[in-house]
């Protein structure tokens, strides 16, 4: 077990308490930067996809994990980000302007939606976001001149300062671009969570009355959180558009919203790390299934490929198992394992016992 002697408040305020943790994080980042030299293009593209999902996951995590606002419609924000970015670039706006603008506009849209929605309690917000999703989907079809309607829209290839970041031509560069965005957002997110703004998010999540008693304007805080959440998701959407290259509204189905929820819940609600773990899982699973499928087909002759919808149902079952047996997600499980080893042999079974809670109504008759 490690004991840390803190000599100043700064140690607490810093992102990493120990030099060791900071070293590990730098190592990880270094590895990610060197990845293009270590793996082939197929896996590099997969890694880029994972990073995009992690970015979108962080977006949703701000709302669901840190402010307690469940959204079933985040695919709408992905779509808005992707379409804004692509449409602006098609109109000749450079990526360096179009990309942040896509995030900003999506964020503003999210915040504006959240203002009436925040008056609704948990479940109603979830439903309202679902409704917004359906409406956005229809609007995409209606706004054909900008969005290309049913036939879709192409996200142009990116060039910055004369260097090409084309998805196919210069995959390395494209990957590094995504990585840079992800690192920046992660850093900002981590900063947010150690500052008053992040604390006000947590306050609103855990007890609204108390948050008010602390002087926190709950409506404004929630709108801000939802705006940031949709903004980050919008950025992820813009990158997703470039990653796919050519897309229409079908890319952003309600299943994407559900998959995003999967990312944050399985990853671990309330942890930034959870978004990454969840993203790895959700982008890695289809690969694993494909490998298993081929393996089974070759060895036993069972053709899993003939069963439609197998991926989805596997995801669903995993999700159900996680919610029942490990509601804190992969990251929560990892924390427990780590604590167990650190305390070894002192850890006791019941240390991690879940606290039984009883639902009390928010309703008064």
């Amino acid at each position: 077990m490690r004991v840390v002697f803190k000599t100043s408040y700064d140690r607490d305020i810093d992102l990493h308490e120990h030099g060791l943790d900071r070293g590990k994080m730098l190592g990880l980042v270094g590895l990610m930067i060197l990845l293009p030299f270590l793996v082939n293009d197929y896996y590099l593209a997969e890694a880029a996809n994972t990073l995009i999902w992690a970015l979108a996951g962080m977006g949703l995590m701000i709302a669901v994990g840190h402010t307690g606002q469940v959204s079933l419609g985040h695919a709408a924000f992905l779509a808005i980000g992707a379409y804004t970015d692509a449409a602006l670039m098609n109109a000749g706006v450079p990526f360096l302007v179009a990309f942040p603008l896509a995030g900003l506009l999506t964020g503003l849209f999210g915040a504006v939606i959240a203002i009436p929605a925040v008056r609704m309690s948990g479940i109603y917000l979830a439903i309202a976001t679902l409704a917004v999703f359906v409406i956005v989907e229809e609007l995409i079809l209606l706004l054909e001149p900008i969005t290309g309607g049913v036939s879709g829209i192409a996200a142009p290839s990116i060039t910055l300062f004369g260097i090409s970041f084309d998805r196919y031509g210069e995959l390395h560069n494209f990957y590094w671009l995504i990585l840079a965005v992800v690192i920046l957002v992660t850093w900002g997110y981590a900063n947010l969570m150690r500052s008053p703004t992040g604390r006000s998010f947590l306050a609103v999540r855990d007890s609204e009355v108390s948050a008010r008693a602390m002087g926190i304007n709950v409506t404004r805080t929630r709108a801000l959180a939802f705006g940031l959440s949709s903004g980050v998701t919008g950025l992820a959407g813009a990158l997703m558009g470039h990653y796919i290259g050519f897309f229409n509204y079908e890319l952003f189905s309600v299943f994407i919203s559900i998959n995003l929820l999967l990312v944050v819940t399985i990853g671990g609600l309330g942890f930034i790390q959870g978004a990454f773990l969840g993203a790895v899982l959700i982008t890695g699973m289809p690969q694993v299934i494909a490998i298993l499928r081929d393996g089974l087909n070759a060895s036993v002759g069972v053709d899993l490929g003939s069963i439609p919808g197998l991926d989805t149902v596997l995801f669903s079952v995993i999700l159900i198992l996680f919610i029942i047996f490990e509601p804190t997600g992969l990251y929560g499980r990892w924390l427990k394992i780590r604590t167990w080893f650190e305390l070894f042999p002192l850890a006791r079974r019941d240390m991690f016992r879940r606290h039984k809670t009883y639902l009390k109504t928010e309703r008064m008759k």
Binding site: D12, P196, S207
Partner: protein, 258 residues
């Protein structure tokens, strides 16, 4: 001069007159208690003062200004902090973070500065820590500083909630049953802390409490209420001796017969 003045306060929920015509004034530096049987409307008075409910009738003045009709989130800035009868802490955060959340009204930075974590944010953060550490030291919460609320015993949570209210740096603190569910020793601690709050911090304390021992020990004046109506006001001794109060607690002979 009185810090808090409540005049003819009333709130009705449908047909229930939870509070009905209550008036009192709490002086600067005073420890004032509201007592009464269960369901008398004590917590509701607190909720009215902290503006969680809007009164049906009446006026609330604080520090010389009429604050009736303010929003609950304005209270901390005015200098009114409170605790809740059933503990409303931020369960998934640590004790330290809970207390830091009490510093919200003192923040200077906006969210963009926070995201960039500018040096000014760090400086500010350091100042918040210093203030919060004082509270931790005052309430002897050092051992729990980095523990999450979820796993803490009831008594500790009650004290953390008081700490969070103190972190706001208020002029007036409202304590809703600070000693309920506490052991005899813990109750004694609470008594000393209330004394210190008044003496060393210059705080004014308004509390609801059932433990008459604690009330007599720390309070200057007491207001007794029953069924939302005021019964008696005076020193703890006077109020306890008041026949109306005794009747309200024990039930009048007629009521017993019914």
């Amino acid at each position: 001069m009185s810090l808090l003045e409540v005049e003819d306060l009333a709130v009705h929920f449908g047909g229930v007159k939870a509070v009905d015509g209550v008036s009192f004034a709490v002086d600067q530096g005073e420890v004032f208690a509201i007592i009464g049987p269960n369901g008398a409307g004590k917590s509701t008075i607190f909720n009215l003062i902290s503006h969680i409910y809007q009164p049906t009738r009446g006026r609330i003045c604080f520090d010389g200004a009429d604050i009736t009709g303010s929003k609950p989130q304005d209270m901390a800035r005015l200098g009114i902090a409170r605790t809740f009868q059933n503990i409303e802490l931020f369960d998934h955060s640590t004790v330290l973070d809970n207390l830091l959340m009490g510093r919200h009204t003192h923040r200077q930075s906006n969210f963009i500065q926070d995201i960039l974590f500018l040096p000014s944010v760090r400086r500010e953060e350091r100042l918040h820590r210093e203030r919060v550490e004082e509270v931790i030291e005052f309430l002897e919460l050092e051992a729990y500083r980095n523990k999450r609320i979820e796993g803490l015993p009831y008594g500790v949570r009650k004290i953390v909630e008081i700490g969070r209210a103190l972190a706001i740096g208020p002029k007036l603190i409202l304590l809703d049953e600070p000693a309920s569910g506490l052991s005899v020793e813990e109750t004694q601690d609470v008594a000393f802390w209330i004394e210190d709050m008044r003496r060393d911090m210059g705080l004014t304390v308004l509390m609801v409490e059932h433990d008459m021992g604690l009330v007599s020990q720390v309070c200057d004046r007491v207001l007794a209420v029953a069924n939302g109506k005021p019964l008696a006001q005076g020193t703890p001794h006077e109020v306890q001796a008041d026949p109306h109060v005794q009747a309200a607690y024990l039930g009048t002979p007629e009521e017993v017969a019914v």
